[in-house]
Every structure is written in structure tokens, then in C-alpha cells.
Symmetry: C2
Subunit: 402 residues, 2 copies
């Protein structure tokens, strides 16, 4: 059996934790299995490297930032190989060059194009634990790239796909995927099984346990994911195509506070203007989420939409620059908002889910500003200060604790 | 004009020094020259990484140690590229994979086999300052290697050779090569020009300013070296094939305290035994320096020789293990010794140099234990406590301050 195990930065933050992870890998290896381990940089290493870069040049090229950042994972994989060797387990560390993890050329946000398996297969054939740097690739110019947020998860899923691994385990500091953030909702319940689509909706709705890119890739290549804790041996959550029928209308609730609302006021009410506005944003790589359009005064309209807080500054600048061309009279924004989403394949065949959600929020005196839905998700925009209460109210409203 | 500049770890130890180096490179670039920069890891980075490895596994494989250590230079080259970019100088950093610096496979002590110039030429053609990781190579298995001591100097010389550079500048924290260590001999004089052979003898005799491997390579490929300070713009010392005749008998004096004497006592006086002893040591990669053989009691002989202090432990172990086969009765050693060497092409045609040296030492009451000579070098072994006095005495004896 071939198992890919991914451990995040906090799981390898110090000597003790490195040996904890090495122990988990050794156990798997001693069962006779082939083991590929994907690691992030140790603890806060990536942030420390970013600080160094910021200190030297706040506008450093992304190519050089990636050259700097990729050292982080190379340090953790080599130390992990040494830890395994100290336990008499043959091990070898490999970086993106050595594996040949080909990516697109976009520094800071690259995507995998092709991953060679020869070197890894060769080392597995020699009965070595193979430890691979997460988060990084090499582009066609032979330059390092990084994959952006959730990059190491993506590396693990991609390796599981090309190696036809029997299992891909994503180790985190929680025991799995929960019906809601257990730090906020005390009676949140660990989910045993969840479909790719539900996980995808939860991930894009603010659940931080898995990044949506890795789930997308897992779905595309049919890689069964297990999300579990690096600190204990609990079962964790399995993410796969078809799950056992659990009689739950919805699978989970998520809050996303990293969101901001922008309103463009007094836009000319003629065809194509809305398209132009969103096209302008999308060409600047700004993702727009919930959109609400309302009729304004004197034949104009107002359009509100949400963006990630990280993109707010740039979105405002881009709109301000093209204000006249886009016939915008005024631009306002609000950072003190949050999205609350419920996700579940069950809502496909059950009307009334939205009503239950709105009722729960209403009973807790929480005002809904905007609404957006997909087939298996309903998202509402509320004031940020209400976010935690809303999460509890909706979780209770659907009886998710049982 | 193509210039290769090499800066050591202390020259890039912090932000201020990084910008100092970037300034030197920018100046060269703005003259219209092509600039290739070779860097070591920042400050104590390499030692810190070694400490981390030691903490995880004191017997870590050299392959993984090299994987770990090579991150050090990658950090310094990427930060240097950012610093140059901050000064609006186009710059790109490259590691051993990206350049394709092929080395032998021996981790921790590799040698260059072949260096591709395509990528560097391409980037120079785009008018970029190219910043290359020193100290590292890639072997035929696509694994990182490191070059051992003086590795970054070797990288600089090797690049200067394959790129046919017009100049190879080795920047240090001293202004050049001196007639003796200026910290010990106050009136030591900076040498303007020195031949490869003299530099080689000085380097192997304890002068730390250049490593002998880089000088050997410079000689082999006719790369003219300039040793100068990264802190000021003084001229420095030029190392080349033929130098202007300066009427000096000897060029410099060096002391080497990193030496130890081993004596094997009571060895059978028959042919081949001495050969076997030194062959045993050489097969364990232990370099033997001064050798002295004397007649012992009852048809036996005693052989004394010096090794580097780093090799002492292993040398003693190796000899102890084969004590019987090598007919050794007893093994003694002394770490409290030092070598004092005088070097100079002038001594070839001038008898009496040795006499002047011995006289200077005798006048200072310094006892000579062993003597060794080459065509352009005379080395004596003395007590370590006398080393500084000996350096001053010999420097004065030859009037090197003028």
C-alpha cells in the first residue's frame, strides 16, 4: 500500500514535533507500506523569511520571494530525513527540482502542470521513506515557484494522484472536519464522511481545515482524502465522492470574516456596465463573491458585492481609476462584515432549508444584508460582530450537534 | 568586461552589509560591465543549520546535511537580488540546480566537474546582475553537494574560468594578502602581487585569506585573482602567474596552529613499513605534512609526522587499529605545536634563506622540532606557545616590513 502523508508547519515546528511526525511515518513504514511525506516549512519560518524580504525590499520580485521561501520546506524535509535516519528508518528528502514538480510560471500562485514520478518511485523501490517539499514547484525557466495558500495540501494531493496512492492523509492540529468551528460552537460535531462538493463549499465558505484547491484536485483525480490530527490516532474525516447516507439536511456551517463589501453607487442603467465592472476586477485577479443589484435614483442602479479583505485595497484602487469609464458616481465599502454559510447535499431535495436558516438568525436578532446560494450552499452576509452568535444559532437551528 | 565578485558570509551578515555589497555590485554594473556575484551563507547561518542537524541526529547522512546547508546560500542570493532590485538594478539569483554546477558525488567535499554557462550568459545578456550560490554543486543523482572549506572561493574561480571573466575579485574582511597575519605582526605589509605558487604555499601554511583549492583552480585555468576588502576601495592583492620583480627574498610568513604531531615508536626497520603507515592514513583521507624519521633502539625506527588537528582523532584511531600489522610499539601525540612557514620564489636562487630563518628563531630562544621544505617554502614545527613570537621574529629577520 502507498500512503501520502502531509504535515503542516506547526506539526514540525520543533525537535519534539519532528520526532512525533517521524514516529508516525516510521509506524506506517514498518507495516510494510510505501510512505511519501509532504512537509511545510517549520513553524513560523515562512513568515520570518517574508519579514527578512520585507526589510530588504518591500517590493521584491515574486520570483526572488519564491527563491527565498522555498528554502523553508527544504530545511524541514532534510531535518525530517535526519530524524528518520536517527530511528534507523531509511529516508531521503527531495525538493521540487529533484522530483521535477513542473508548475505554471506564475510566481507566488503557481499550479502544477506535470509531476515526474521516476525519482520517487526509485527511492520507494529502495525501501526509503520519501520526504518531499510541499508548497513549491519549478517552472519552465527552471525557476522556483510557490503554490500560494494551501500549497502543501495541493502538493500532497497531486503526489497521491500521480503516484496512484491508496491513501492521502492531511494531518492538522484538529481531529477532522467539524459541523462548525469547534472553538466557536462548543457542541460542534466531527464529520465522519463528506463529499468533495460539500468540502469544497465549506472550504470556500471559511472552513480553514482544507484549502479548496486541494479539494478540487482530489475530486478531479478521485483521491480519497483523510483529514486527521497529528497529535492523536483518532479516525478523522474522510473526503470522497459518495458518502454513506447520514440523515442530515446540511453537513456543516462556516463563517468567513475575511470579507468586505463594496458598493458602487449611481451606475448608468444600461447593458454591459455591470459586465465591465466585474471584468475589470477579474482582470486584476480579484474574486468577487456575493453580488446584489438594486435600482437607484434617476435611472441609475447601485451594485454591491463582496471581495476578500486581502483584495479590498486593490479592488477600490482599480475601481477608482476607472470610475468615469464605468459611470460610477460613488464608491463605498464596509470591512465589518462576515459571511455565514450552510453546506449540504441534502438541501438539493429539501425545500425550506433557507427558511430554517433565516429563522434561526431572526430569532437571534441578526440582520441579513445579502444572500447568495449554490445548489448545496446558502450564504448570508451579516455584520461581523454577529458572526459567532450566528454560527451557534444556525448550528443549533439545524440540530447539527446530534 | 565580465567581473566575478565573491563575498563571504560576514560581508552579507545583515541588512546594512547586504546593501553595502549591493552598492559595490551596482557600481560595477553601472560602469557597463557584466557582473556575476558569488555569495556564501549569511553570517553564522551555516553553523546554526549544523547545530539544528546535530540536535536532530549527530550522525545525519552527509547527503541530508548538504540538502540542509545549501538553503543557507539560497537565502543570501535571493535577498541580495532583492537588495539590488530595491536600487533599481536588474538582478536574478541562481542556485546550483539553476546554473547546473555539476560536481562529483561526494557529499560534504565535492569537486566541480562541469559548469553550464547558458543560463548565466542568458541573464547577463538581459543586462542582469547574476547572483550565484557559492559552496554548492549538484551531482549526477541530482542531489545537492557542498564543496567543503573555501567552497565559495572555489565557486567564484570556477565561474570566472568557464565564463572567461576578465577579473575574479575575492572580497574579505582584510585588505589583501599580508607578509604575515597583521593581527600578530603589527608591521606586516600588504603584498601587491603574488604568484599562484607562492599563494598556494602560503594558503597551505596557514594563511587563511584564500583556500588552496581555489588558488589551485585559478592557477590551472589562469584566472587572475584579486583579494580585497569589502569595506573599502583599497587596491588589494593580485594573484597571478608572473609578478613584477620585487627585490624580496621571501614573500610572506605564515603560522598554522591547527596542527598536531604524531609519533609512532619502535617500528620494524624494514622496507615498506613507512609506506604502509602513510598509505593507511591516506586511504582514510588524512593528509600528512612534515615527516621526520629517526633511528630507534634495537634495529627499530621512530617516525614522527604532523596532521591537521581536525584529523588527529581519526588518525590515532586508524593507527591504533592497525598497530600490530604496522609493527608499531607505541603511539604518542602532541597538539601543542605550530608550523611556521616562509614562502617566496626568491629563495630558489638564494642560498642562506634557511639559515636566516633559523637564526631569527634561535635569537628569540625558539626551539625547532621538525623541518620541511619545498622549492619555495621552508616550514618548521615549534611549540604552539612560541608561534606568535616566531612570526614576529622571522618577519623582522627578513625585513618584510619594508
Amino acid at each position: 500500500m502507498l500512503v501520502v502523508k502531509k504535515f503542516g508547519g506547526s506539526s514540525v515546528a520543533n525537535k519534539e514535533r519532528i520526532f512525533n511526525v517521524a514516529g508516525r511515518c516510521a509506524e506506517e513504514y514498518q507495516k510494510g507500506n510505501d510512505v511519501v511525506v509532504v512537509l511545510s516549512a517549520m513553524g513560523d519560518t515562512t513568515d520570518e523569511l517574508l519579514d527578512k524580504a520585507e526589510d530588504i525590499n518591500p517590493n521584491a520580485s515574486k520570483r526572488e520571494l519564491d527563491m527565498l521561501l522555498t528554502t523553508g520546506e527544504q530545511i524541514s524535509v532534510s531535518l525530517m530525513a535526519m530524524a528518520l535516519q536517527a530511528m534507523n528508518i531509511p529516508a531521503i528528502s527531495l525538493n521540487a527540482f529533484q522530483v521535477q514538480m513542473h508548475s505554471t510560471s506564475r510566481n507566488g500562485n503557481a499550479r502544477f502542470k506535470r509531476i515526474d514520478t521516476d525519482r520517487i518511485q526509485h527511492e520507494l523501490g529502495n525501501r526509503k521513506v520519501v520526504i518531499v517539499t510541499g508548497f513549491q514547484g519549478v517552472n519552465k525557466y527552471d525557476d522556483y515557484t510557490t503554490l500560494g495558500r494551501g500549497g502543501s495540501d495541493t502538493t500532497a494531493v497531486a503526489l497521491a494522484a500521480v503516484l496512484h496512492a491508496d491513501q492521502c492523509e492531511i494531518y492538522t492540529d484538529v481531529e477532522g472536519v467539524y459541523t462548525a468551528d469547534p472553538r466557536v460552537v462548543k457542541n460542534a460535531r466531527k464529520i465522519e464522511e463528506i463529499t468533495y462538493d460539500e468540502m469544497l463549499e465549506l472550504a470556500t465558505s471559511g472552513a480553514k481545515v482544507l484549502h479548496n484547491r486541494s479539494v478540487e484536485m482530489a475530486k478531479k483525480y478521485g483521491v480519497e482524502l483523510v483529514v486527521r490530527s497529528s497529535l492523536n490516532t483518532e479516525e478523522g474525516t474522510v473526503v470522497k465522492e459518495v458518502v454513506k447516507v447520514e440523515k442530515m439536511l446540511i453537513t456543516g456551517v462556516a463563517a468567513d470574516k475575511n470579507t468586505a463589501r463594496i458598493s458602487v453607487i449611481g451606475v448608468e442603467d444600461k447593458p454591459g456596465i455591470a459586465f465591465k465592472i466585474f471584468n475589470t476586477l477579474s482582470r486584476n485577479n480579484i474574486n468577487v463573491d456575493i453580488i446584489l443589484q438594486s435600482v437607484g435614483r434617476e435611472g441609475t442602479k447601485d451594485i454591491s458585492f463582496t471581495v476578500s479583505q486581502d483584495d479590498l485595497k486593490e479592488a477600490l484602487a482599480v475601481l477608482e481609476e476607472r470610475k468615469q469609464a464605468l459611470t460610477i458616481k460613488d464608491i463605498t465599502h464596509d470591512e465589518k462584515v462576515a459571511k455565514i454559510s450552510i453546506v449540504g447535499a441534502g438541501m438539493l431535495s429539501n425545500p425550506g432549508v433557507a427558511a430554517t436558516m433565516f429563522e434561526s438568525l431572526c430569532n437571534s436578532n441578526i440582520n441579513i444584508n445579502m444572500i447568495s446560494t449554490s445548489e448545496i450552499r446558502i450564504t448570508v452576509l451579516i455584520d461581523e460582530k454577529d458572526a459567532d452568535n450566528a454560527l451557534v444559532a444556525v448550528h443549533d437551528g439545524f440540530g447539527l450537534e446530534d
